[in-house]
């Protein structure tokens, strides 16, 4: 009973948050609603007994990713609207709904369900975190390490990409300076 109530509640909240995120024209609203949606999603993880995953979700998404976005947004002129010229909305909606339906058909089809067997059954008497740790550091050790390296690479890449001309601030420069800088960039033919 509690589970059902919680599920429907959080489902409603998540959907509405995400709906706001994709429809609003204000980047800040979108960011905030997205962050909220992320946290609501972690609620599902807790309901499903994946406590560690839920924690990670909150930490990584709401903490790291959203913070990153927030910092990123500082570089942009978020107050300025991006002109969002829309094409045919029916197509967009239609495609989304059809694909959603198809996915439901495929995933919820009984043939899929009956074929799945537990490869790493839940160990009795151990907490979720413990189980995750056991599997992550045995069977998935190599992917885990690779993921770590990937994160490192991504971090360095992010720094390198974003860090160029960190000493300059577009918001503090006037138009001429910006234009001149762009010209120089073009002449140098630097990638990106």
């Amino acid at each position: 009973m509690f589970e059902a109530v919680a599920f429907y509640l959080f489902a409603f909240l998540t959907i509405s948050m995400f709906y706001v995120a994709v429809t609003t024209s204000q980047a800040l609203y979108a960011l905030s609603s997205l962050a909220a949606g992320m946290i609501f999603i972690s609620a599902f993880f807790f309901i499903l007994g994946a406590d560690f995953l839920g924690a990670v979700q909150i930490v990584v998404y709401s903490g790291a990713v959203m913070a990153l976005y927030a910092f990123g947004m500082m570089f942009f002129d978020t107050t300025r609207d991006v002109k969002e010229k829309q094409g045919n909305k029916a197509i967009i909606l239609g495609l989304s709904v059809i694909s959603a339906l198809l996915i439901v058909v495929i995933v919820a089809a009984p043939i899929v369900g009956s074929n799945i067997e537990a490869l790493y059954p839940v160990t009795e008497g151990a907490g979720n975190t413990q189980e995750v740790g056991m599997i992550l550091f045995t069977k998935y050790l190599v992917p885990f390490e690779v993921a770590a390296v990937m994160l490192l690479v991504a971090m360095i890449a992010g720094i390198v990409l974003a860090g160029k001309k960190m000493d300059l601030s577009l918001t503090l420069m006037n138009e001429q300076e910006i234009l001149r800088m762009r010209e120089e960039d073009k002449n140098k033919k630097v990638l990106s």
Binding site: S96, S99, L102, I103
Partner: protein, 640 residues
């Protein structure tokens, strides 16, 4: 003896190659003399072989080398000298020697002198291969070889449109017949397993009559082309575009008789299928009359003689078709002599008249060209079949054959044709040599030909006169090989009535021709006289409208159909389909490149669309896999 065989066979080839060496250089007498001498050698060798065959009765058979040997098929270059082929060899080499010598004079002023002798000797070689070969394939080599040389020689004056046209016509028409011949050869091979005459003929009696009939028909189709039988006859008259010696040698004496030779050679086959034989005889009789009728009115000297040749070939086929092979061969021989003589005489006249061919524009030439006059008269008498010249013995015999075999219609037709023959021959003689000197109106000063040309012709004249004397000796010789049927009319009275009656009929025709065409008021026809406007005359002068029909309904149709095939079908349908398929892809690409607008948002939309497609496919296949049993039942219920 093989030495003589090879000498007879290959010396014309050597002569041809020798003359060909001078092909590109200006005229040299030597290019004419050497081939002539070599042909003389060939003739002498043939003569030796003839004597040998006649005296000993032996035949010579050599196998020079293998030509084709594949699977079951084995074709050698084999040559045989037997009674039939040696007769042909004598005829061929003799006439061609004479013609060669004659041509040295005739072609004197021609730029292509050397080329001419090369072609002419090559022709003789091909003809020798044709008659000497011991198998059908070898025959076919010669058959096509003479066709080629005939093409080269008809179109010898290649700058003349009419000559090259006639050459191509002759070649193509012969090719049509050759296809029949080829099919005949295939039939022989697949049914008897060999192409050697001896073995193939030995195997034939055990074959089914239907097969034999087809064989006979197809081989005869081949013969029809080469011997210009109806309906493939038009090329022969047009072939007169070639130099006159060529007409004498190829289109009178030798090549056109190849068809007759084939039927004679294949006598064991035709003996087994008398129905086809009767057809051949009937066609022969028809062609004899048909060609003679066209000769009656024609105003081209050479064409008249050509039609006469055609008519005589009809006689030969009539005889051969009725099973009188030796008679046919005898007439072939006799005809070769006097017809060649006639042509060469016509050549002299042409030379004298500066290539004028209309006999109405001549007249009275007998006074200026005594030698030619005598020779042509002799030849015409022989052609008409007056006793005791060669034509009498051979042609009368054919009439007798038809009579004895109780084919009275054929007999009547041939008899009537004999009268026509006499008429048109002497119409020609009368118009050319007698009457007023009409040529003077055209400012021509005729002169007699070179002496040596007349001397060269003389053997032919001699033979045209005396060939009949060889009849018994010839009969004894060839009947070793050919069926020795003697044709005697049962009662002596009937025989005499027939012979004398025929003679009188023929003489009457001659007299009539003389009467009509030596009179003083003969004018060059100008298309106004009543006769010229009559339907019969028009029909005959236009050759029964057959060339017209061919030109308009076959040649033209072929040309137009080709054009349609190319422009309409090949370009508009076949190629357009290919290009159309290519265009579909091209257009698809052209249309879909809009997708690649470079706009990320559009691309994302397409990506989702693609996902949808893939997902639907997954659903469809998943469902199909799950419900495959039910689908199969459903489909089978529908009857798929």
């Amino acid at each position: 003896m093989e030495l003589f065989l090879y000498t007879a066979l290959f010396s014309p080839l050597v002569g041809s190659l020798f003359a060909a060496l001078f092909g590109a250089s200006p005229k040299t007498k030597i290019a004419g003399i050497v081939p002539s001498i070599l042909l003389g050698v060939s003739f002498l060798s043939s003569l030796v072989l003839l004597v040998l065959v006649m005296v000993t009765g032996h035949t010579i058979h050599v196998e020079m080398m293998t030509w084709m040997a594949v699977g079951d098929l084995y074709i050698p270059f084999g040559f045989v000298v037997d009674q039939v082929s040696v007769t042909m060899m004598i005829v061929v080499t003799l006439v061609s020697t004479v013609v060669h010598v004659y041509a040295i004079g005739y072609m004197d002023h021609d730029k292509g002198f050397n080329r001419f002798f090369s072609w002419l000797s090559a022709f003789v070689f091909s003809m020798m291969v044709l008659v000497m070969s011991d198998n059908f394939a070898g025959l076919f080599i010669g058959w096509e070889g003479v066709g080629l040389c005939s093409w080269g020689l008809i179109g010898f004056w290649y700058h003349k449109e009419s000559a090259t046209w006639a050459a191509n016509e002759a070649f193509i028409m012969n090719r049509i017949a050759d296809l029949g011949m080829l099919i005949g050869i295939f039939l022989v091979y697949w049914n008897t397993g060999t192409l050697q005459y001896a073995e193939a003929f030995a195997a034939m009696p055990s074959l089914d009559t239907a097969v034999l009939t087809w064989m006979g028909i197809f081989l005869f189709i081949g013969a029809m082309g080469k011997s210009a039988q109806f309906p493939l006859h038009t090329w022969l008259a047009d072939a007169m575009e070639g130099p006159t010696p060529v007409s004498a040698l190829i289109h009178a004496a030798t090549m056109v008789t190849a068809g007759v030779y084939l039927v004679i050679r294949a006598n064991p086959l035709y003996d087994l299928i008398p129905n086809v034989g009767l057809f051949i005889a009937s066609l022969g009789a028809f062609v004899a009359l048909f060609a003679a009728s066209m000769a009656l009115v024609n105003r081209d000297m050479k064409r008249v003689i050509a039609y006469s040749t055609l008519s005589q070939l009809g006689y030969m086929f009539a005889a051969a078709g009725l099973g009188a092979y030796w008679v046919a061969l005898f007439h072939l021989m006799a005809h070769a002599f006097f017809k060649a003589l006639l042509f060469l005489g016509a050549g002299n006249v042409m030379h004298a008249m500066h290539n004028e061919l209309d006999p109405f524009k001549m007249g009275g030439l007998g006074k200026v060209m005594k030698g030619t006059f005598i020779m042509m008269t002799v030849a015409s008498v022989a052609l008409a079949g007056i006793f005791p010249l060669a034509g009498f013995f051979s042609k009368d015999l054919i009439l007798e054959v038809a009579f004895v075999e109780h084919h009275f219609i054929i007999y009547t037709v041939l008899l009537f044709t004999a009268g026509l023959t006499a008429f048109y021959s002497f119409r020609l003689v009368a118009l050319i040599f007698h009457g007023e000197d009409r040529y003077k109106h055209f400012g021509i000063h005729p002169h007699e030909a070179y002496k040596f040309m007349l001397v060269a012709m003389s053997p032919l004249m001699l033979l045209a006169i005396i060939a009949g004397a060889f009849k018994m000796g010839y009969f004894n010789m060839v009947t070793d090989l050919l069926p020795a049927t003697e044709y005697h009319v049962h009662s002596a009275t009937t025989y005499w009535i027939m012979t004398i009656g025929t003679q009188l009929f023929v003489i009457a025709a001659i007299v009539f021709a003389y009467k009509k065409y030596t009179s003083k008021d003969i004018k060059v026809p100008d298309g106004t006289s009543k006769m010229e406007n009559s339907f019969g005359y028009k029909l005959l002068i236009n050759q029964y409208y057959i060339p017209y029909f061919y030109e308009n309904y076959i040649v033209k149709a072929y040309r137009e159909l080709s054009e349609i095939f190319w422009t309409k079908i090949d370009q508009k349908i076949v190629d357009a389909t290919v290009d159309g398929i290519a265009n579909v892809f091209y257009q698809t690409g052209e249309k879909t490149r809009v997708m690649q607008s470079g706009n990320l948002s559009t691309m994302l939309k397409w990506m989702v669309a693609g996902t949808v497609v893939l997902l639907s496919l997954a659903v469809v296949f998943g469902l199909a896999a799950r419900y495959s049993g039910e689908i199969k039942t459903f489909l089978s219920a529908l009857g798929v």
